[in-house]
């Protein structure tokens, strides 16, 4: 499966697709990027006249690249439109703010994929290469 095919299989669309590019992917992990569109709706209110990317959105970017892209790659042919995906836990530290138009890189390392549960150690970096958030994310990805 090519990186483009993985992105095409993601069950998200605008304005909630937070993956631009997969740089590399293998059975042990994934690295991908996303650039925050300055017109995203939440910037109007978070915060008033001072747009900063909300932590929940950073978490979502980490989960979409670090967990869902990797999950689709790992399931390979058994991934389909009937596959259930759910986020089950997050434990994340937020170290630096991320502003509109910033490009971030997510690096995810698989801890395990057993019984449908994928757990990863995930780091997000900004364009300067600084860590902006880091943590552990887990989800269930089950093909019926």
């Amino acid at each position: 499966m090519t990186n483009q095919e993985i992105i095409a299989k993601l069950p998200y669309s605008k304005p909630f697709l937070f993956v631009d590019e997969i740089l590399q992917i293998n059975e042990n992990g994934v690295e991908g990027t996303y650039t925050f569109d300055g017109n995203l709706d939440f910037y109007k209110g978070h915060f008033k006249d001072n747009p900063v990317t909300p932590g929940v959105i950073l978490t979502e970017v980490m989960a979409q690249i670090g967990l869902v892209c990797l999950g689709i790659f790992l399931l390979d042919d058994s991934f389909s439109t009937t596959t259930s995906i759910a986020l089950t836990s997050t434990e994340i530290e937020f170290l630096k703010p991320v502003f509109p138009k910033e490009k971030v890189t997510v690096i995810s390392e698989k801890v395990y994929f057993r019984f449908g549960k994928l757990k990863c150690k995930v780091i997000m970096k900004n364009e300067k290469g600084e860590e902006v958030c880091t943590g552990i994310i887990a989800g269930m990805i089950i093909s019926k």
């Binding site: 089950t88 836990s89 395990y112 057993r114 019984f115 449908g116 549960k117 887990a138 989800g139 269930m140």
Partner: protein, 86 residues
């Protein structure tokens, strides 16, 4: 395998994942991981991985599906340990 000791070991394994302290305090062989202890299905995977590590055994999908309560967990551990030592 000593039954009381195994129950005690299993209690230590499930402790971080339980959502019902009262059921945990009176845990017996018949205690159900999901219905009594309210362990969610994602955390049940961690319980099983912790059991694998503690007893140095490998639990397959079929055993995972049967592992619904303390009694079933003890049986599976015992079977896997005897398979390993035979």
């Amino acid at each position: 395998m000593n039954k009381e000791q195994t129950i005690e070991e299993l209690k230590n394994i499930v402790k971080p994942y339980i959502q019902n302290q009262e059921a945990f305090d009176v845990l017996t062989e018949d205690t159900d991981f999901i219905n009594d202890l309210k362990i969610n299905s994602a955390n049940l995977v961690d319980v099983i991985l912790d059991i694998e590590e503690k007893y140095d055994i490998v639990i397959d999908n079929e055993a995972m599906e049967r592992m619904i309560n303390v009694k079933a967990a003890m049986e599976i551990i015992e079977n896997k340990l005897s398979e390993k030592n035979s």
